[in-house]
Point group: C2
Chain length 399, copies 2
């Protein structure tokens, strides 16, 4: 544990503490600098993505009471780049008068998928049929009720495709459930949605209750990991766009979310063949599907998150281009770092906005992303192709 560094904070400037040291905290620091702020970061290692670039870094463990208290001292707001801080420790901070945003009363819905589904159903948000699974019998009954189309999920801790299973038949479901319950995994099941694509409806909300959505985007996952976001989502009726934006604002308000909320959605056809949406996941922080806002929007998700947790009025979320595509740079099997490839990338793609996280390469690890803006809606296909090529080249050295 190093001590906090008061010289990092301008006279009169609010101090925002970010618990977490990954790329989301790193990119919050980018925006903090321009707003005249500087973050204090609780980091697990001095060379972590955010610790590399911030001035006021406290080394410690987000699961330790003493470390959280130390980093939070004097903060105008405490926020997060993940949802895994134990709520009982956050409750203690709040009882000591610390301004924690978002609060555990909201975070619980991002931490526990069963709580989330139950709450969403309660407020009338579209969710697939679901059930808690505490026995093989529960699983069998649920499977029967949805015609065998079952997705099994760990209630807690899953991300990037981890903690989700797609049993092919009841036999596989039974053995999975037995195995996971034996390992003390809390389980739920839900009906598989035969979705046509994934969408993400993002919004920011302040403690005072102002909400400001971004245009809904189309996202694409591969192996459970986000690989692309296209903004705004192409080929979508204004009515459906509006429904997505209103849904995100309603979820933020009803669940008491503050800061940035990502509502990941499935788009599918309902029984009448009409486009319909269903909530897949919630994230209460800046989100991979919002990285495009850095280069495609007046106000990025990182700036908006800082404004929101400080209860400042929210910024304009108009786009600055007809289309923006974000492609993730995922570590490949190849030797070498993206830094060896960036010159050639810049030569071939002068329009590409390169965002690298300062992270060591591991296969499949998110080490950066590329944003490209297009000059017309007609350019979506071309911009997608270029963004994907650019990201692939940074990751692997090949186009």
């Amino acid at each position: 544990m190093t001590s906090t560094n008061q010289s990092a904070h301008a006279s009169g400037a609010p101090v925002v503490v970010v618990v977490g040291d990954g790329q989301l905290a790193r990119m919050m620091h980018t925006e903090a600098i321009e707003l005249g702020l500087s973050l204090r970061v609780l980091a697990s290692a001095p060379d972590s993505s955010a610790a590399q670039v911030a001035h006021d870094v406290v080394l410690g463990d987000y699961r330790e009471r003493a470390d959280l208290s130390a980093v939070a001292a004097g903060a105008d707001a405490v926020t997060f780049d993940h949802e895994h801080v134990p709520n009982e420790l956050l409750d203690e901070l709040i009882s000591q008068g610390i301004n924690v945003q978002p609060q555990p009363s909201a975070l619980i819905y991002a931490q526990d998928k069963l709580h989330m589904r139950t709450k969403l159903q309660e407020i009338g948000a579209p969710v697939p049929p679901f059930s808690a699974i505490t026995s093989v019998e529960d699983a069998r009954a649920f499977s029967e009720s949805v015609g065998g189309k079952v997705c099994l999920k760990s209630r807690r801790g899953g991300y990037d495709g981890k903690g989700v299973w797609f049993p092919k038949n009841d036999e596989e479901l039974n053995s999975l459930v037995t195995e996971l319950l034996d390992a003390s995994v809390d389980l739920m099941a839900e009906k598989l949605i035969p979705f046509e694509r994934e969408l993400s409806a993002m919004v920011a909300r302040t403690p005072s209750g102002q909400t400001q959505p971004w245009p809904v985007v189309q996202s694409r996952q591969s192996g459970g990991i986000c690989v692309e976001a296209v903004a705004p989502a192409p080929d979508m009726s204004d009515e459906l766009r509006q429904r997505c934006e209103e849904l995100s604002a309603r979820v933020a308000t009803e669940l008491g979310v503050t800061g940035v909320l990502a509502v990941e959605l499935f788009e599918y056809r309902d029984e009448d063949g009409q486009p319909a949406i269903s909530v897949n996941e919630l994230a209460m922080r800046p989100h991979n599907t919002g990285h495009w806002t850095q280069d495609g929007c007046v106000t990025s998700q990182f700036e908006q998150h800082l404004r929101a947790v400080l209860d400042l009025p929210l910024g304009d979320t108009r786009t600055v281009a007809p289309v923006t595509v974000m492609a993730n740079v995922l570590g490949g099997e190849e030797d070498g770092t993206p830094y060896e490839r960036v010159a050639e990338l810049m030569r071939r793609f002068p329009e590409a906005k390169v965002h690298l996280y300062g992270k060591d390469v591991r296969p499949g690890r998110k080490i950066g992303h590329v944003n490209i803006v297009g000059a017309s809606e007609d350019s979506v296909a071309e911009v997608r192709e270029r963004a994907q090529q650019a990201a692939r080249f940074l990751a692997t050295g090949s186009f």
Copy 2:
């Protein structure tokens, strides 16, 4: 002097050292973060604008050989946020194999206005008639040659209106020259240009010789301090735009500039009543008249400067909006900090991009700027008005 901090630099990432700790270094760090870099900053104080936000801060004096050597150790490039490092010290670094960009052979033209004027004349760039002034007789002869329309300048060290004098008559000229020569100020004089407006033509150049201009902007000074930039410069023929862009690239190439170059220009009417331009000043670093690129261009001047000094291919400089206006926030006489005003500012101007430098307020000091983008060329007047109002409010608390 604190030691350098290696954990600030990602494995494989180039290390860029910035000599200087002001807002230009601060905003370079913003872009460095997104490129996956982190700067090492030579700062005069731990709470200076750039030192607040960077992780790897070396405290020291840019006029001290030992401090420069310490901060430059292991750097992939050494660059600056001002032009005042003694050239003999930079020459020593270069002789030790350090990659200094821009080099003293170019910096000399930004440091000494007489060298600059002489060189520009030599390459055929438009400059007003000028002369070295080493005696009252020199001054009298020059004044006679230009019909008494004389501007007197200190050859070195002037900025923000300092080091420039406008004698009203020969008597005033004589006493000024006598006084300044007695004070060992190196002087030059040039013919006053009856300009209609000021322009700024900015360009970046790499050591390999690639140049990439930005659209020329209209700038406005008050008391010698930049207060506004409108991009692109309105009401300008394509021919004149192109002439400005070509001029900036030619100056960068002929003077061997690397990194960002600002060519400040006067626009005036020639003897035939046609629009003409004349070079006023050069700056070899990101420049106040380029701050609009942060929110109005695909590639900002701060990102481009980093790319250029690392000899990376330069980024696209297309605008992302038909008009962008930058207004400076200059410290007022009022009590209080901009942080007390920012909530009200954000409520009234959700579209404003607020950039604050973490600097204590002093009257007239540049403490931040506001960028606003407009949706159409017709909106120039409205966007100018809003940007000025926003900046004034942050500075003074009144609209």
